[in-house]
């Protein structure tokens, strides 16, 4: 259950950004969770509800976008479907993960007086 520590890092980052902009409240936070980021979106959301309570993010909507994993051949861009051997059948080189590996903070909507 590392979702709590990730949410704490998220909230620290959002609060720092909000302070830098002189915001009085945060309205919405948009994050992107990759399929292979190792984060369970549902746990992430429930951790957020709990941890955000005592922060500037209290009441802010958390918008989570799930991103599917995508593996491509780095040479010919052939797509390797998840579940297949992660090697390009044509070029015989290891596939490369081009999407779905990270958890990103994308955007914050804040109230600025």
């Amino acid at each position: 259950m590392h979702e709590y520590s990730i949410v704490s890092a998220l909230i620290d980052r959002v609060e720092a950004e909000a302070r830098a902009h002189g915001a009085t409240a945060v309205q919405r936070i948009r994050v992107r969770i990759g399929e292979l980021a190792g984060i369970e979106p549902e746990l992430f959301v429930s951790a957020y509800d709990l941890v955000s309570e005592r922060s500037l993010c209290h009441g802010a909507a958390l918008e989570v976008h799930a991103e599917e994993a995508q593996w491509l051949c780095p040479r010919c861009r052939h797509e390797i479907v998840p579940g297949e051997i992660l090697r390009c059948p044509r070029c015989q080189v290891p596939a490369e993960l081009v999407a779905g590996g990270d958890i990103m903070l994308e955007q914050i909507e804040m109230e600025v007086p």
């Binding site: 259950m1 590392h2 520590s5 990730i6 890092a9 998220l10 620290d12 980052r13 950004e17 902009h21 915001a23 009085t24 409240a25 309205q27 994050v31 292979l36 980021a37 190792g38 984060i39 593996w71 579940g83 297949e84 051997i85 992660l86 090697r87 290891p94 596939a95 490369e96 993960l97 590996g101 990270d102 958890i103 990103m104 903070l105 994308e106 955007q107 914050i108 909507e109 804040m110 109230e111 600025v112 007086p113």
Partner: protein, 233 residues
Amino acid sequence: MCETCGCGDPAIVPVEIHEKILAGNDRTAQHNREHFAEHGVLAVNLMGSPGAGKTAVLEATATAFGAGARLAAISGDLATHNDAERLRAAGIPSVPITTGSACHLDAELVHRALHEIEWRSLDYLFVENVGNLVCPAVYDLGQAVNVVALSVTEGEDKPLKYPVMFRKADLVLLTKVDLLPHLDIRVEAIADALARVMPQPRLFEVSARSGQGLDRWAGWLAEQRTRMTRTAA
């Protein structure tokens, strides 16, 4: 202020960030990595389930290297110092990190542990992560290589069930292979599962008990260290 009608309501400002949530951890990890490279220390993040044989592999590694290399370890453990004590008994200077309820180590915990160990003169620093196949994979510690210990008793499909960790592995140590004659486990099936989650699958069969595969493992570590010092130079 809302500039559309001058009503006095605060304006809603969208701020684009597009940054990894763990960017702070990644910066500390990079700092650790630079320290290690500068001093020619190969840092190995050793992960795996509880009971996969991580500590046993390290004990056997000390034997495999003998006096030929300077090793030390940082051991993450939820509640005890048992792993660190076992490693010390095997001749590996070791610092425990008791994580309490945390299921993983992070770059800051490793950085703090470095203050308690003579790490600059080492050849290899092993970070024995908390036994867990999920959480440790998410945190960069500043390691040069990720190694996952997977024991033969864990089943053939473990890599498919925990793709996040195996994707990040540079090497998988299939441990306890001395038990294979007693099990209905096919190594080829494990290798096949691995190739579906790990782009450059590398699987070494080892047994801390019989010593099988330990020379190959020690040789691989030495190779990684040479490669790192060459890149740093």
